[in-house]
Point group: C2
Chain length 315, copies 2
Amino acid sequence: MSKYVFGVDLGGTSVKMGLFDQEGNLLDKWEIPTVTENEGQHILPDIAASLQNKIEERDIALADVIGAGIGVPGPVDEEGRINQAANLNWHTCFSIPEGIQQHLNIPVVAGNDANVAALGEMWQGGGKGYSNLFMVTLGTGVGGGIIVGGRIITGATGAAGEIGHICVEDRETKQCGCRNVGCLEQYASATGIVSLARKRLDQDQTASVLRQGELSAKSVFDAVKAGDPVAEEIAQEFGRYLGKGLAAISCVVNPQAFVIGGGVSKAGEILFRYIKPNYEKHVFHACRDVVFALATLGNDAGIYGAAKMVLDKVK
Amino acid sequence: MSKYVFGVDLGGTSVKMGLFDQEGNLLDKWEIPTVTENEGQHILPDIAASLQNKIEERDIALADVIGAGIGVPGPVDEEGRINQAANLNWHTCFSIPEGIQQHLNIPVVAGNDANVAALGEMWQGGGKGYSNLFMVTLGTGVGGGIIVGGRIITGATGAAGEIGHICVEDRETKQCGCRNVGCLEQYASATGIVSLARKRLDQDQTASVLRQGELSAKSVFDAVKAGDPVAEEIAQEFGRYLGKGLAAISCVVNPQAFVIGGGVSKAGEILFRYIKPNYEKHVFHACRDVVFALATLGNDAGIYGAAKMVLDKVK
């Protein structure tokens, strides 16, 4: 008889959930809103109740539930303790598994959302076939997740893979959200690309389609594809910073593959045209032959990775 | 009855060897020269013969030898294959365990020397008590080794921890040995410190004890301790680059501790006065509370780590 596992991706506005069989087939997928009011104290009870509903709806025996994995937007340690998550309005340190288990008695494993998404892409996505990979998430910010020997590297305080805050520009004067200056996130995130674009457009009056309509990472790469020379320069800048950042990562963990995900990655393979030459310029020779791949699971990477985390940890 | 394990640290001029009991007590220690002539083809047979001699000399039954670990100056993959080691005059790709076992039939495990030294420091040295640490070796070059959950992270091509080649200076014009520019090694190695010192001394005629005698990393830090203001500036520069590099490493693997070894580390705790403020300036807040420790095993880190590698891998 088949057993079941839940994958939960907890975000600032909604919680994505998936029901999987133990072979990794996604059987069902649904969402609930994230209620961040009152210090986010409803979030974990809401998740537990939604899982409970699904168990009843599908008439699943509790003994057939291997467990639930949860990806959370903040640093989570090996035991599943989180120390603050601003997007969830959580400002204390507590155990996520315990928070769920007070309401639903199943094994629970928690991890940082970027790390969990990396595991998902390794298992069923763009990183399939690579057990040592680094997933780079280019979204509102820049995050990352490291997989070594098929397992997530968490780090001492759950901050492994927080590559958005590697300093890649000494000459920056604007502060990053983390209060440092020159962070990779300031140039390679969706927001960072818009900043680079604004700065370039303000420099002179060269004609560009980017001068009409709203600026976004998408509009920049659409303009690149249409042959806009100003957009081309912006993409070069983006690639210069990201390529250099990925080269630094390779000197540290030397992955087989980089899997690029997040909203910016929707631009597609064209990103590699800007990343690769800069990566090759800066990287140590022994790390040159890395594979660059696009993430393929999109918004589902988190639920896949969360489910895989349970299958790996709960025996 | 006690069992035995050998730790071998293969360097460009000599091979250090140690005999340990399985509790990690060093029972005997000796060296042989590294014969790099004829494409270094004598190196592994020489090691096997020396181990064989020790086994006979001490009247050890072969069945009581758990195995031998070897740290090698080059990238070594998970299976112990090396792909070139310039210092040993090795220019092909081959298996180190097989190279030993042709002459002596015991289990053999090989790893990169910097990684192996990191494991040694974790086991019996400055990193004791930390299972997630990063060892930084500041010698002629800058190397490193990552331990996560008590195990070495090797990387896809054995190049994990090669942090000497993280780019920390965009404005550099001189090439590093790796042919890139602005590598951490150009500023934080013994050679790099001498370059920084030369550059500073050439800038103007400010009096400094460094204008007499031979320049070295030691003379620079001796002058710092004696209150020399020019040496102080040089140490600040060194700290600026190294602190920034270590901050980047923390964003990737988020270690509990940095253990600083290699010749430059003989300067002692004073190094931290220059590294820490720069680390704190650049690091992501969740990684701020890292421990800085000095390596304590000196030249023996390699043989300790090599022995530990065998104890971990051979059951």
